[in-house]
């Protein structure tokens, strides 16, 4: 697959490590979260057949973690963004 890196353009997916669903960014608030919240966060997945927001770590590249929106039935990628917004690039 080819992932269009927002900073580096098209890059081979073999340079990336797949980290799973982007929902993993929404870690429960340790102050308020219940045991169920933690269980659901850590263990339940939407696992959609269709567009899926997921995290790819560019280990063989610039070490950015990207939020990739990819259709799990066709592998078509419709959106890619940096998980951590960078400072001014230019």
């Amino acid at each position: 697959m080819i992932i269009h890196h927002p900073l580096l353009g098209p890059r081979d997916s073999a340079e990336f490590v797949y980290l799973g669903a982007a929902a993993l960014m929404d870690r429960p608030d340790p102050e308020t979260a219940s045991a169920d919240d933690w269980h659901d966060y850590a263990y339940l997945r939407d696992n959609p057949a269709g567009p899926h927001r997921e995290l790819w770590f560019h280990e063989g590249g610039d070490r950015s973690i990207l939020i990739v929106t990819r259709d799990t039935t066709t592998h078509e990628i419709t959106d890619v963004a940096l998980a951590r917004p960078a400072g001014a690039q230019i």
Binding site: L7, G60, G87, I90
Partner: protein, 188 residues
């Protein structure tokens, strides 16, 4: 001055040079490296502080600068690798930190990497056996971090179609050297 004798990444006391046809692979031990990562919220100040060191703006993604005293490579968001002559800048990290102060995190990287220069008119035939870079558009000043035989490397175009610099993980210098020379024998 200390009295310890360094060895090169390939284990020699002098640089290793391999030639196949008109293409030459040269180990470059005298390269000092340091990583510069802008502190969160101080990206602009960091760039400003870099400018006099690079005699240029800090390079954008995928690009390099090649002016004295410090060459640079974009390595990540708000992050660059700076290069200098080891014989004059072995203290590169300390030197940069003194200029960049609290605008950046500076980390010595000199011996994290092995540096090879690959030169000659047919290097693209060699490179296309090593990495996924689209060499059609790989021009002077471009730099891409990619994988060569499972090794994460920086490939820097120093002269379009004529010369590249490859930075690879130092501990695997032997494997990287083997991969490149094998490709040279195969392609040339």
């Amino acid at each position: 001055m200390h009295d310890l004798t360094p060895i090169t990444a390939l284990g020699g006391t002098s640089q290793r040079i391999d030639t196949v046809g008109d293409v030459c692979l040269t180990e470059m031990p005298d390269v000092a490296l340091a990583s510069v990562a802008a502190r969160r919220g101080k990206e602009a100040r960091c760039r400003a502080a870099l400018k006099p060191l690079l005699n240029a703006d800090a390079p954008p993604p995928g690009r390099t600068t090649a002016n004295a005293p410090f060459e640079s490579i974009w390595t990540g968001p708000d992050q660059w690798m700076l290069l200098a002559d080891f014989t004059t800048h072995e203290d590169i990290a300390a030197h940069l930190k003194s200029h960049l102060a609290d605008t950046a995190s500076v980390t010595e990287q000199t011996d994290a990497w092995v540096c090879f220069d690959l030169t000659g008119p047919r290097i693209t035939a060699v490179l296309e056996l090593l990495c996924t870079i689209d060499l059609t558009w790989f021009e002077t000043g471009d730099a891409i971090r990619t994988s060569i035989h499972h090794l994460g490397c920086f490939v820097i175009c120093t002269e379009t179609g004529q010369s590249v610099r490859i930075l690879g993980p130092r501990a695997s210098a032997g494997s990287l050297h083997h991969a490149i020379t094998t490709a040279m024998a195969s392609a040339l």
